[in-house]
């Protein structure tokens, strides 16, 4: 009697575990299935920002974060154009993700503890390590952020930038006067007009803005980086599979750079005997299938979007107006002095 009771309990337990697993599998597939049914990825970007999600006058989007979405679309549909870009203000960015309107956020969002734990969001990786800095006119003879005691500083309201600024001055025991606005261009005009001594933003933003100053050479970006701003794509809680897809598309692009695979030589690399390249491109192993993608999903991504180095050069590299130097920065590969470290593709 007892034995059969135990057996009965075990069976019930096993059955419900399967059911739960099946149910969670079903809902975990939900986003990928929805995206496939819909035929395009809903990618949320912010108000146009050069280098990351820039809007050209013919209506096309381009940038580091745009390439992230294009990569995901390429992986799923073999067509990087199957993306719908939703440009929303920061006020509604997280709610639009949580209520299902956007599938992913790719809009220079900083990975912080509060956002990760309390907003029902999941960060799928970091595609750009940024940090906050200052730009000052060279004529002010300020060479370091430590000389900014008592300065007026232009800063964007309602962002972590404002909070980091306050923290920095507090921790260094200096005082400052903030000059705030919610429009970047107004702030820049104020700074250029002499309304503040320094302008602070993420260094990538500073680089972009400075390139548009009337006389860029007369301004200097101070060497100090006063905060950590790891920027990356964001997905909803509750769909681990979708998060995995985004994460491994990003890792795949960085890994491709490490292995020397580019959009130009992908076809040749398919014949390579290097086991790492084989696993990356899907000729060996089945990383893709575990996520509901085809084996050669990275081939698709690399063909249409390229590896990390290519998107970097294309969007924020030396030949672009934004021009953020990569060598020696955090955004270099781990074996080149930076901290981009893709997890193994196996």
């Amino acid at each position: 009697m007892r034995v059969s009771n135990i057996k009965k309990n075990l069976m019930i337990f096993a059955f419900s575990a399967c059911a739960a697993g099946w149910a969670s599998q079903a809902s975990a597939q939900a986003t990928l299935a929805q995206v496939k049914a819909r035929g395009h990825v809903n990618c949320q970007v912010g108000l146009p920002t050069p280098g990351f999600y820039a809007l050209a006058s013919d209506g096309t989007w381009s940038g580091m974060d745009v390439d992230m979405c294009r990569g995901v679309a390429a992986a799923i549909f073999d067509d990087p154009k199957k993306v719908q870009y939703q440009s929303v203000t920061s006020a509604v960015r997280f709610t639009s993700l949580a209520n299902g309107e956007s599938d992913m956020l790719s809009r220079t969002t900083t990975w912080t503890a509060v956002r990760d734990t309390q907003l029902g969001l999941e960060f799928a990786g970091v595609n750009f390590y940024d940090g906050q800095g200052f730009v000052v006119p060279k004529s002010s003879n300020i060479k370091s952020a430590k000389e900014l005691n008592g300065a007026t500083v232009c800063v964007l309201t309602g962002t972590t930038t404002e909070l980091n600024l306050a923290d920095y001055f507090r921790s260094t025991g200096m005082t400052f006067k903030p000059v705030t606005n919610e429009n970047v261009n107004v702030l820049v005009e104020t700074y250029l007009g002499g309304g503040c001594d320094a302008y602070t933003n993420d260094k990538s933003g500073l680089a972009a803005r400075r390139s548009a100053f009337p006389k860029p050479d007369e301004h200097m970006i101070l060497p100090e980086t006063i905060s950590k701003e790891p920027l990356g794509p964001v997905v909803r809680h509750g769909d681990n599979n979708w998060g995995d897809i985004v994460r491994w598309v990003l890792f795949g692009m960085i890994e491709a750079e490490e292995l020397g695979v580019t959009s130009a030589n992908v076809d040749e690399m398919l014949k390579s005997s290097n086991p790492n390249i084989k696993r990356l491109l899907g000729t060996e192993g089945n990383v893709g299938e575990g996520m509901g993608l085809p084996k050669d999903f990275m081939v698709r991504v690399l063909k249409h979007v390229g590896n990390y180095a290519e998107t970097y050069e294309r969007n924020v590299g030396a030949k672009t107006p934004v021009n953020i130097p990569r060598d020696g920065s955090l955004n270099a590969l781990w074996n080149k002095g930076g901290i981009l470290y893709p997890m193994p593709f196996r």
């Binding site: 108000l47 146009p48 209506g59 203000t89 639009s96 209520n99 299902g100 107004v186 548009a212 107006p321």
Partner: protein, 457 residues
């Protein structure tokens, strides 16, 4: 006085009446007339006033001088990118090439450039449809106006949206097209002969002779024939689908405010009448609706519709974002309009209701024929003011991600070619807003003057 006269009337004899010669009117002194008189009286009537006038003139001059120097005097009209502008004139002059390059986006948003002709076509149709309202010989102005407000949106939404059309949708589009054709034909036939299209067609064919019912059937047949023609035309049309996400710029602003305006006036009338109704349920519902939507800022309503609605819908059901914004705007503006109209209704003296009642008119007849025309006439300035406000309030939809005129102007300054261009697009769209709003207010003044023709003694 009377007493004195009556006492003495017996004693005084009545002399023949003298003829009273009235004095002729003289011309007013020239220094009080005309421009000279006006200036003297209003601007230089005393030393302090004269000083203030001079100061005022100087301020106006300085203001316009600064603006015009920046916008016209030092401005750059041709350049490849902003760097060139800056190298030429720095920031002392406007860099217009950036705005000029983005004008198609500012007007049409991200609408595919090869499909923009559809928007232009809809604009032309709108103008042609509205034109008969100004022609003196046209008599069916009310019908044309109603068809414009009710049927044009059907035709226009197909032109803008494109895509597949099912049976019901095709029928509705054909209704819109038929309304347009009917308007053009009626305008033509009424200018020629004073008869609307249906009657003209019947008279021209000679159908039915003098038999009234037969003639009426003929008119109905003519209209049906027109509808069939429209249906065939619609079936032959095939337009590619353009998602509402691509709609933007001035086009989007006009769509949202146009629908808001067209909806808010009739909805406001219904709500105002509902609030004044003596049936408690209707009155309560109307009052609740009005007070609810008036107590909450438009941006909150937009947020709620935009953010909360998808949470309540089952997974996979998506309500178009533009539609959500339009619904929010319509509900908000009809609540405001309802109060404006209620104010107008209250201004009509009770005697008007009584006169209509005494003639045996029921509620709807007396409201529609006697009360409403008077109330609306009083309320024209406020109603048009509401419309102007609504047009400008559409900028709020940028918060929920729609690329209206204002957010498109900000996108100009983020284009890497024109990075930092911020004042020039802003100036440009300010001019656009000013022109549209000023036109509306001038039209309203014109309307008031025409309608008050009967009040000038």
């Amino acid at each position: 006085m009377d007493e004195v006269l009556s006492r003495d009337s017996a004693a005084v004899e009545q002399l023949p009446a003298e003829i009273f010669k009235p004095k002729p009117a003289r011309a007013a002194p020239p220094s009080t007339l005309g421009v000279q008189g006006w200036v003297r009286q209003n601007m230089f009537s005393s030393i302090p006033n004269a000083l203030v006038t001079v100061l005022g003139i100087w301020i106006v001059y300085a203001f316009f001088d600064t603006i015009l120097t920046w916008a016209v005097g030092n401005a750059v009209w041709e350049a490849e990118n902003r760097r060139q502008c800056l190298d030429l004139v720095g920031r002392s002059g406007a860099c217009w090439p950036g705005v000029i390059a983005w004008i198609p986006n500012l007007i049409y948003g991200l609408y595919p450039k090869d499909q923009v002709w559809r928007i232009n076509l809809a604009g032309v149709i709108l103008l042609l449809w509205a034109l008969p309202l100004w022609l003196p010989r046209v008599q069916s102005k009310v019908q044309i106006g109603l068809s414009l407000v009710l049927l044009f949106p059907l035709l226009a939404s197909y032109l803008f949206l494109g895509g597949e059309k099912g049976v019901i949708w095709s029928a509705l589009i054909a209704l819109g097209l038929a309304g347009f054709l009917w308007t053009l034909l009626t305008a033509a036939t009424e200018t020629i002969s004073g008869l609307s299209f249906g009657r003209y067609a019947v008279a021209a064919i000679g159908f039915g002779g003098d038999n009234d019912p037969a003639r009426r059937n003929g008119q109905i047949a003519a209209l049906l024939a027109l509808y069939v023609v429209a249906l065939i035309a619609v079936q032959a049309m095939s337009l590619s689908f353009v998602a509402t996400r691509a709609w933007g710029g001035l086009f989007l602003t006009l769509v949202i405010s146009g629908i808001g305006i067209a909806f808010s006036l009739p909805a406001g009338i219904v709500l105002a009448l509902g609030r004044r109704s003596r049936m408690p349920l209707i009155s309560m519902l109307s009052t609740t609706f009005i007070e609810l939507f008036r107590s909450v800022p438009l941006i909150t309503i937009l947020f709620t519709f935009n953010t909360m609605l998808p949470l309540f819908l089952p997974v996979g059901v998506e309500v178009n974002q533009l539609l959500r914004a339009i619904v929010a705007v319509c509900l908000f503006s009809s609540a405001y309009m309802a109060e404006v109209i209620r104010g107008g209704l209250q201004a009509i003296p009770r005697g008007q209701y009584e006169a209509a009642s005494a003639m045996g008119l029921g509620f709807w007849q007396s409201t529609g024929l006697v009360i409403m025309p008077q109330a609306l006439k009083i309320m024209i300035p406020t109603i048009v003011g509401n419309f102007i406000g609504l047009f400008k309030d559409t900028t709020l939809v940028s918060i929920v991600g729609l690329f209206d005129l204002l957010s498109m102007s900000r996108a100009v300054g983020e284009d890497t070619r024109w990075l930092g261009l911020f004042l020039e697009p802003f100036f440009f769209i300010t001019m656009i807003y000013f022109v549209v709003c000023f036109t509306m207010s001038q039209y309203s003044l014109n309307l008031e003057q025409r309608l008050s023709a009967g009040e000038r003694r």
